[in-house]
Amino acid sequence: MKILVPLKRVADPDNANKIKIPAGGATIDTTGLEWKPNPFDEYALEAALRLTENGATPKTRGGEVIVVTFGPKECETTLRAALATGADRAIRVDAKDDELDGSIVAKALRAIVDKEKPDAVVMGKQAVDGDSNQIGQMLAQHLGWPQATFAATIEEEDGALLVGREVDGGVITLRVKLPALVTVDLRIVAPTSVYSKQTKRDFKYNDGVRFAALPAIMAAKKKPLAELKLAELVSDTALKVQYSRFEAPPSRKAGIKVKDVAELVTRLKNEAKVI
């Protein structure tokens, strides 16, 4: 099976307090931020790797995983890390962050899918920076492919994927015929979430995303990494979404001490208006 996995780098969510908004609030100052792959994209890559191998012998690849990202040269670090964990080749679409919106990315991805003809696109359900949660759905629409979003389990069948989606009160299982698009949620990296055809059903993966072995990190330098121009993929590069203003979350106000229960109740009722 050949799987395309789009990746996005995001500002390290653990260091969100480093994000600065310059006066005016029209942009975000990204200097000094540490970049990490979007966690959901890492889960998608893990799922794709699991779908293209026999879990018991992960060194023999049973398919191809192509990772793709949009961004400047520095984004190649993200791609190399993905290649080190096991992806077979990488594509970087050269673009600046402010040239991109969900629509443009979805259209460009469509062009890449047309070229690469993968059997499936597996991607994170959303990026943790913008939290838009839309590219998977838009891309499926552009391609006319079946889609299964918020996947918690994937099982490969002949010519189809059996996808479990967690919803309130239970799990919906969908069978999508290949080629198909799947966006994954966090439980996709549990030990028994993904099974390829080769992997025995009693096999258990380690919980979480796999680590890259040292020899693989060294070998990743030699794996192919292609560069494409955004203009080659999309004819209309005008932004459909424009950010007008950013605002930092309000800083927490100091608390107060109350004398007795009576005052507490009064304040909760009159000031906090929660009772």
Binding site: T77, A84, G208, F211, A213, L214, P215, I217, A220, K221
Partner: protein, 663 residues
């Protein structure tokens, strides 16, 4: 190397993620709950493919060694040559050390002793069978190793005060003694036990041997972990041996000729370099925690980072981090260049890194104030852990004496002489120096890299073609003696001492002295000695058979010194006063039996240039081979081993005589 490469950083990120996911949650149990570190280490080795890499490297090394043995070749010592892969390999070993040390330096110690020290002891000196039997399991962490040298009464003076013994018993040995402060001791499956061979002789003359022991052997007791100040993730214990019977197959190398001393010295050097990476991890973590704390801790209405006393602490931490990181980079660069640190350089490196890590960790506790004293804020643990860096692998004090010994190499060798000889040595060395108001010993010597077969690497002036040491040495035995040391005293020499034991029958070492250095004092001393700048002097020592151990030259022999004859010195002085000419002093035969000349040829070789020289005016010296040195008259009076070996000057050539480019 000025910074980590992108690949290094990916490796670092991967290890950092692992440490935060697997080690951090267990830190409490490792610190205060006696959780042994081994399962986490094994998981790390498996996750990152280290286990497979170690096993593959082991298989290929052993296969090569076997092929060599089948062809009947001896193990070749590796020629030092530039090898970028070795640098990468070292970087990949250091990055995990740094990342582990950020949370638990003890894990590094436990890992390093097992996979490093113990396995290396077997890999470097053991037979192929011993490697296969014990080393592979250590390298893959399937088994845990311990390296037992320290005893209750022997720490810094590891060999001198060692009391553990091996007695011969039929074809095997009986071992007894007790060891303490043994890392991994309580849990070790494989133990390298270092002891002295008791042949009924004086303990200080005894040979040092290493044996491999397995857990559970009759007579071997492994204690429970000892309580200690820090480094709790590394279990430390005692070992007791009561008449443990072992076969010869457990003696490393399966021969008594393998000297554990050499192995231990190599081990110290590598242990010391590892400390730099550990110190870097501790300092990086302290610095990071302190910066965060300084930004968020508010006192007197503002973050404490705004106070200059706090800023000073942070700045000093950054300086320490930069310095230690540079030392780590230097080690990687050296490895890539096919070199390693010398023992003295490694000592200097260890001394600085250990002290810097301790200072940074202590200051971190101070910066955190009351919180720093509490176990909840990691700096307390790092501070306790850092202290060990100043103690193990050679205390700070031992490192200092190693460095000083190296700096004062000329003087330091005195201690190998007996007292009267030492006194004479001092007199002789100081004689000329004091007269000129100089300090004896000659500081600031530059090393001259001279390869035997090739041109000198760094050597101003001219170069004399040299004959293979073995050839010269065979003829030279007992012929003459000279001490390049006297040239040190007189002419400001730079010298390189190398050992050669190329063929089975030859054990020789040589010293190459380049007479160099630009200063008025040196010019004067050269003039007195009758040498020109750039002259190269070669000294060879051929050791008699009994001095050789396993084809290696005994270290003690290397360290001995043949003092300059005071008579000769005075003669040259007289000549200096008399107008720059340096006729040979009249020779008084030393008391004691006349030394034997090895061969007539040799004698002619030694004497003819002298005759020529005696009859030619001094000015002519550039056109003829310079005099060869005659036996030093003080020979018989010293207790130096020169009497046992032969020392001869093989080439002492005038400037230009090799290339013939003058005149």
């Amino acid at each position: 190397m000025i910074d980590w490469s992108e690949t290094h950083l990916s490796i670092r990120d991967a290890f950092r993620r692992f440490v935060e996911a697997e080690l951090k949650p267990n830190l409490e149990a490792l610190e205060h709950g006696d959780l042994p570190p081994y399962e986490i280490l094994r998981k790390m080795a498996a996750t990152f493919g280290l286990r497979d890499m170690a096993a593959m490297k082991f298989q290929s090394d052993v296969a090569k060694a076997k092929a060599r043995r089948e062809r009947g070749e001896a193990d070749k010592p590796r020629e030092p040559r530039a090898n970028p892969a070795a640098g990468e390999e070292l970087a990949m070993r250091m990055i995990p050390i740094i990342e582990l040390s950020r949370y638990s330096p003890g894990m590094v110690t436990a890992l390093g002793v097992s996979m490093g020290l113990t396995a290396n002891a077997i890999m470097s000196k053991g037979t192929i069978e011993q490697k296969e039997r014990w080393a592979l399991d250590l390298l893959t962490l399937d088994k845990i190793g311990a390296w037992a040298i320290t005893e209750p009464g022997s720490g810094s003076d590891a060999f001198g005060a060692m009391r553990a013994t091996a007695r011969r018993d039929g074809d095997g040995y009986v071992l007894s003694g007790s060891k303490t402060f043994i890392t991994n001791g309580p849990y070790a499956d494989t133990i390298v036990f270092i002891c002295k061979l008791d042949e009924g002789n004086d303990p200080k003359d005894r040979r040092v041997l290493s044996f491999v022991l397995d857990k559970g052997m009759p007579g071997l007791t492994q204690s429970k972990p000892l309580r200690k100040m820090g480094l709790h993730a590394s279990p430390t214990g005692e070992l007791f041996l009561e008449d443990v019977r072992v076969g010869r197959d457990r003696l490393i190398g399966e021969t008594e000729e393998v000297q554990a001393r050499d192995g231990a010295k190599d081990t110290f050097a590598s242990e010391r370099t590892g400390v730099a990476a550990m110190a870097l991890g501790i300092v990086e973590q302290c610095r990071m925690l302190c910066i965060d704390y300084a930004k968020t801790r508010v006192q007197f209405g503002r973050p404490i980072g705004e106070f200059q006393l706090v800023q000073l602490k942070l700045a000093r931490m950054e300086v320490a981090r930069m310095n230690i990181q540079n030392l780590v980079f230097r080690q990687i660069e050296l490895a890539a260049a096919g070199r390693g640190m010398t023992l003295a350089e490694a000592s200097a490196c260890k001394l600085y890194c250990a002290q810097a890590a301790m200072e940074v960790a202590l200051e971190s506790v101070q910066l955190f104030g009351g919180n720093g004293y509490m176990a909840e804020f990691q700096v307390e643990q790092l501070c306790r852990d850092a202290k060990v860096l100043q103690i193990y692998g050679g205390t700070d004090e031992i490192q200092i004496s190693q460095i000083a010994r190296n700096l004062l190499a000329g003087l330091g060798r005195e201690r190998h002489l007996d007292e009267p000889a030492r006194r004479r040595q001092r007199e002789v060395l100081n004689h000329g120096a004091q007269r000129r108001g100089l300090r004896a010993g000659g500081a600031g010597r530059r090393r001259v890299g001279v390869d035997w077969h090739r041109q000198p690497v760094v050597c101003s002036g001219r170069y004399v073609s040299l004959v293979a040491p073995a050839t010269r040495a065979r003829g030279a035995e007992g012929v003459g003696v000279t001490a390049p040391r006297e040239l040190f005293g007189l002419a400001g020499c730079q010298r390189e001492r190398r050992r050669d034991a190329r063929t089975a029958g030859d054990a020789a070492h040589r010293s190459v002295c380049a007479v160099d250095g630009a200063s008025a004092a040196r010019d004067e001393r050269r003039r007195v000695a009758g040498l020109a700048r750039g002259d190269l002097v070669v000294e060879l020592t051929l050791l008699p058979q009994r001095e050789r151990r396993g084809g290696r030259v005994d270290q003690a022999e290397d360290d001995r010194i043949r003092p300059l004859s005071a008579a000769r010195h005075e003669a040259s002085e007289r000549s200096a006063r008399a107008g720059g000419r340096a006729p040979r002093p009249r020779r008084r035969r030393a008391p004691g039996p006349r030394r034997r000349r090895a061969s007539g040829t040799r004698r002619r070789r030694a004497s003819s240039p002298r005759r020529r020289r005696a009859s030619s005016p001094r000015r002519g010296r550039t056109s003829s081979p310079r005099r060869l040195r005659a036996p030093c008259p003080c020979r018989g009076r010293t207790s130096s081993p020169g009497g046992r070996g032969g020392v001869g000057v093989v080439g002492l050539a005038p400037a230009g005589s090799g290339g013939g480019e003058q005149q």
